[in-house]
Amino acid sequence: SSKLVVAFLPKSKGNAYFISCKAGAEKAAKELGVELLFDGPTDSNAAKQNEIVENWITLGVDVIAVAAENKEGISTALRKAQRAGIKVVTYDADAMPDARSFFVNQATPEGIGHALMDDAARLLNGEGDFAMIVATLTAANQREWQKHIEARLKEKYPKMKLVAVRPCDDLKDKAQSEATAMMSANPNLKLIMAICSPGVPGAAEAVKQAGKTGKVKVIGLGLPNENRRYVHEGVTDTVILWNTGDLGYLTIHAGVALAKGDLKPGAKSFKAGSLGSFAVQGDNILLGKPFAFNKGNIDQFNF
């Protein structure tokens, strides 16, 4: 066929977050008349990501868009793709700069870290104990976010204390167990911050079951659909995220533009179909600021 082939690699393909990215990507692919391949590991596994990319190289796709599970791990494969004449963009989580042309940056780690920490501080009036639930602790962007959260905490909120960080293996059930244990171990806990998407509903379910709705607040990074119920019930206060559909949409547009030669290194801005223009900072295409979903606005979104 004469269609361009764009391959879109999530960290894990069952994750609702990436499924919503895929919806935007599909929309863009349709508009642009390109063929979209979507494949990824079912669990977040760096080795499998590599294998999929290498398969795509021998399949001779035109563009590969990657959310990197692990920076170093994937970069070798991506460099190989570039040598084979394939255009590479990353989204959601970046690879090494020399292994891709552009990174579609949903929000800087700093921006995310600050937004979460500031929101936590706002809810607790800058004072009290809080805990964190993270994914596997091995995911690079989780580490990055955690680092910025802790930096912000140190710098601006001396009266707040991070009492526990527990991994949930990207499993909601595990997040729930961990949150339950954290609450009983720390009676003064005021807030749980979950920075992976299964973690937020998991923590919310734990708070709800413990009958501590309102006493222990839940915030985190997550999808509106997964958290809608808890936000309405008042268990979860705020969910912070960017528009994931737009992220997928923008990524495909950037990849195709790169393959067609419409987007070149050094560009200052980039126009992506119906979404209009985006700023380009160096080799980062910026999606915009993270968005806070709360009781007031969450029903306007469906992803």
Binding site: T42, A164, A181, S184, P201, A210
Partner: protein, 308 residues
């Protein structure tokens, strides 16, 4: 007394652990979190009962995790479509039993080694589920959660159901002829045959049984939260095998009981929350669980050596 030495020593270890918690982290003992813990472990307990049966029968089933996921998702979809739970419940058990029957037919009918058969069905079922569902969650309506009961009531219902199942199975294993057959076949299938038992039938039955129990456990799982995650059964097989073995069921068959398996499960299930309470970093969890398993078997080995 000495007959139940093995089970009692696990209970002893559990008691020591709980006393230690009472001294060092009394906050561990709060009714609500403990109820939550019990609720979440309830499905595991049901599967562990089935696993104990299978291992006593000198077989093993490592496909329970995959069966659990498959039944969770299938019945989750039915429940989400508004099928009445009273109808979904037997479907869950039936689906589980059917999957178990597949394992049972291959193991008992063709006399294939159970570890390999269930390894194959484990991989095939898990990947089959991923193939069809692509890892997607099933969203459940509110009416399904806790069977539509208030949360606390629902939690108690689940815990009591699991304990009732445990009690029924534990008593049945000891006091029903069928239970004694399982021990007989696990001890020596040839001697059982000579005694007029049909070992292949018992083996088949045990696999059907663990399937049905896994189906029930899946049902107990889907009523607990508003979403059903297809990965929910991941690693369940190793967790229950570990619990059963720590609880004194001999992997060589014919020895052990459900009470021990129950104690073993409690011991392992307490590790993660206990670590949180003792403010030990989470990364030690797996290592500690591994150490508990090894400790249990090493103790067994040493005891047997002394006796021999």
């Amino acid at each position: 007394m000495s007959r139940y030495f093995r089970e009692l020593s696990v209970v002893g270890a559990l008691a020591v652990a709980l006393i230690a918690m009472a001294v060092f982290a009394p906050a561990f003992f709060q009714p609500q979190p403990l109820l939550s813990l019990a609720t979440r472990e309830a499905p595991t307990l049901v599967v562990a009962c089935g696993m104990a049966l299978v291992i006593i029968c000198r077989q093993i089933d490592i496909s329970v995790g995959s069966m659990f996921s498959v039944v969770s998702v299938c019945t989750g979809i039915l429940a989400a479509r508004g099928w009445p739970l009273l109808l979904v419940l037997p479907i869950a058990a039936g689906l589980g039993a059917a999957l178990g029957a597949l394992n049972g037919a291959l193991v008992a009918g063709l006399r294939l080694p159970s570890i390999v058969v269930t390894l194959a069905t484990m991989v095939a079922l898990r990947q089959g589920l991923n193939l069809v569902r692509q890892g997607e969650f099933v969203n459940m309506p509110d009416t399904v959660q806790w069977f539509g009961l208030p949360q606390a009531t629902g939690q108690w219902v689940l815990v009591i159901c699991a304990l009732a199942l445990l009690a029924a199975l534990g008593l049945g294993l000891r006091h029903l002829a069928a239970g004694r057959f399982v021990y007989a076949v696990g001890t020596d299938a040839e001697a059982a045959r000579l005694a007029g038992i049909r070992p292949q039938l018992v083996t088949f039955g045990v696999f059907v049984f663990i399937g049905a129990l896994t189906g029930l456990a899946a049902m107990m799982n889907i009523v607990q939260s508003p979403q059903v995650q297809p990965l929910s059964g991941m690693g369940l097989e190793l967790k229950v095998i570990a619990a059963v073995v720590v609880g004194g069921v001999a992997i060589s068959g014919g020895r052990g009981n459900l009470w021990g398996a129950f104690a073993g499960l409690l011991l392992l299930a307490c590790v993660a929350p206990a670590l949180t309470h003792l403010r030990i970093e989470a990364y030690w969890e797996k290592a500690i669980q591994g150490a508990i398993i090894l400790l249990a078997v090493v103790a067994d080995g040493l005891r047997e050596r002394r006796q021999a």
